[in-house]
């Protein structure tokens, strides 16, 4: 008898079944209209975002919840998919001012964007609460600020033990989380290598979890160092194999941030027409992530990989 993965059943814990599918399959299966979508940006799940934009006519509307986003949310907002953004921060980071976000909030282009705002830690605590099945949790952030004033979902209460003020935030339980990570086995044990931000709690907070990875590894490799498993299989619905799947952003131990590309994209995003031209070419103009990578150029991607590995490679000090 071989251990055979069994079919996906109904239930909260996802079974240890074969979960590898394409981005198209995963997005089609799990992301529906009005989906409450959680995402993080460490690393950026670009291949999954591109696929949602390709399917925007079907998906129509997303309510997006993030902690902080740097760059990647622009691609979703610019596509017109996002109705609401629950966030701590949304900007371009090193790529600069996020004109897509500004257009949406200031002018409702391409559609009005409702913003529900927390501090980064306040936003992060919402997933921590959900990851433990709590309905809310407290933080010492946000107190005394206008974040509390303009977001009625934050409640400042007195701690029941000490009477000290604490700002409560409600749990966030996304319908679907999209995540990019380093490695996973075929049943969905995921290892994030390097900094992973709130990826662990997001995966535990969401009802369905799609993870794109740089590498598919064996379960034996997972079992070799179980301390490195960031997201155990029972949280995970789908594993999508997307090498270079965070481009234009970085993936620790795999490749470096493609800053010249990111800066150029942000230059184009200065206008909605520029956004559409970029999306037409790089997203709608490619049928999948592999075609996108071909358009960017595997030679270029490979040089980003070599550059990263000159400085760091998993398991070594360089």
């Amino acid at each position: 008898m071989r251990f055979q993965p069994i079919p996906i059943q109904e239930g909260i814990a996802k079974p240890p079944a074969y979960k590898i599918m394409t981005a198209k399959e995963a997005i089609t299966k799990f992301v529906q209209e009005d989906c409450y979508l959680g995402m993080t940006v460490s690393a950026a799940p670009a291949s999954l975002i591109w696929e949602m934009v390709r399917q925007r006519d079907r998906i129509k509307t997303l309510d997006l919840v993030i902690t902080s986003q740097i760059g990647m949310s622009s691609v979703l907002i610019g596509s017109g998919l996002v109705r609401k953004l629950e966030m701590g921060y949304n900007w371009g980071g090193i790529e600069g001012e996020d004109k897509v976000f500004r257009r949406a909030v200031e002018k409702g282009i391409p559609r009005p964007l409702e913003v529900e705002e927390y501090s980064n830690y306040g936003a992060a605590m919402r997933w921590l609460a959900a990851s433990m099945n709590l309905d809310s949790i407290g933080t010492k952030s946000q107190l005394g600020s206008d974040i509390v004033k303009y977001n009625p979902k934050i409640k400042v209460i007195d701690d029941p033990y000490t009477g000290s003020p604490v700002s409560m935030v409600p749990a966030s339980r996304p319908d679907v989380a999209i995540i990019h990570a380093a490695r996973a086995d075929e049943i969905g044990n995921v290892q994030c290598l390097g900094l992973y931000g709130n990826t662990d709690t997001l995966a535990r907070a969401a009802k369905h979890v799609i993870v794109s990875v740089e590498e598919i590894i064996t379960s034996a490799e997972i079992r070799r160092m179980p301390n490195l498993t960031t997201i155990p299989y029972y949280y995970v619905d789908a594993i999508v194999h997307s090498p270079f799947g965070a481009h234009w952003r970085e993936s620790t131990y795999y490749y470096h941030h493609d800053l010249p590309y990111g800066l150029d994209v942000y230059r184009q995003f200065a206008t909605q027409e520029g956004y559409e031209a970029w999306a037409d070419k790089y997203v709608h103009g490619t049928k999948d992530w592999n075609e996108y990578c071909q358009l960017v150029g595997y030679d270029r991607l490979n040089r980003l990989r070599l550059s990263e590995n000159k400085y760091q490679k998993f398991g070594e000090v360089r």
Partner: protein, 290 residues
């Protein structure tokens, strides 16, 4: 050791001034941009045992190249810890962060910052990035150092949106609000260095940058600014401090026009890493860091 140089830019002077706020052995919460350059200067000069904490979950990175972002792969390079934001943010809410560098588009006399919007929140003239970690750090770090451009319009009587608490409305108000951190200790701008009066918690000018006119500075502040009776000129950067910044960031991505240079130019980007690799190795070796 203090071989001062006059070969510096205003952003370099600011970065060096912020660097001097960091003490050896401390733990500092650092973003990218100018704070990163300040932290790097501190680490390679007067504060070798100081360590950086980075928001997406890194402690003590010792990279050979320029970080691009708080979630960047570079922050993992030879770090002591890499993992979750919860780790670093939980530590900072518990008071483990000695100093944090934050910024804003507007500031008032109590050091309250706005990085959310200009104009009405619901109908903003300019929508900004939002709090990010700034509110968290302003709330709970032992002290914060604020860096910002001083453009004549952003030292205001009242911020349009209070994103990150300074001393709120004055003495005792932070404690009353339940904030656990000490609040802003210094403000470093393009014009000078400000601190906060222990009693009134109001900002006063402590140092003025070389070449800045005091009257112009006062005109760039909406309220009636207090000036230290011991007002001095800001200390110049040393040759070594400037060398450190230019070794890590030869194209001045953070303190100059590097981003314009690199936009769309992949070869220039690859060359930046290739060119800076050996000088960084030599710098690290000379400091006993590798």
């Amino acid at each position: 050791m203090s071989n001062y140089t006059k070969d510096y830019s205003m952003p370099e002077l600011m970065a060096v001034t912020v660097a001097r706020e960091i003490r050896d052995g401390e733990l500092a919460f650092i973003g990218v941009g100018m704070p990163l350059m300040a932290a790097t200067v501190a680490k390679f000069t007067h504060a070798p045992n100081f360590n950086m904490m980075v928001e997406y979950g890194a402690v003590g990175p010792a990279p050979l190249r320029l970080q691009m972002c708080v979630n960047c792969a570079v922050n993992n390079e030879r770090a002591y810890f890499a993992g979750s934001q919860r780790e670093v943010m939980g530590a900072q809410q518990s008071g483990f962060v000695d100093v944090a560098c934050i910024s804003g588009a507007q500031i008032d006399k109590y050091g309250n910052l706005n990085s959310t919007c200009i104009g009405d929140y619901h109908h903003p003239k300019v929508r900004l990035a939002g709090s990010g970690g700034a509110n968290d750090l302003a709330s709970s770090a032992s002290r914060t150092v604020i860096m910002m451009r001083q453009d004549g319009r952003n030292f205001v009587n009242q911020v349009d949106y209070l994103t990150s608490p300074g001393h709120l409305g004055g003495p005792g108000e932070r404690a009353k609000a339940g904030l656990v951190g000490g609040g802003p200790a210094a403000v470093v701008t393009t014009m000078g260095v400000y601190r906060f009066d222990d009693e009134t918690r109001e900002m006063y000018l402590e140092k003025i940058h070389p070449g800045v006119d005091l009257e112009k500075l006062k005109a760039a502040v909406q309220w009636d600014l207090a000036i230290s009776p011991d007002l001095v000129l800001t200390e110049l950067p040393t040759e070594e401090q400037v060398m450190v910044m230019r070794t890590l960031d030869p194209l001045a991505v953070y303190l100059g026009t590097g981003r314009q240079t690199l936009s769309g130019d992949f070869e220039a980007f690859m060359k930046m890493f290739e060119d800076s690799y050996q000088p960084m190795v030599q710098l690290m070796r000379s400091k006993g860091m590798m």
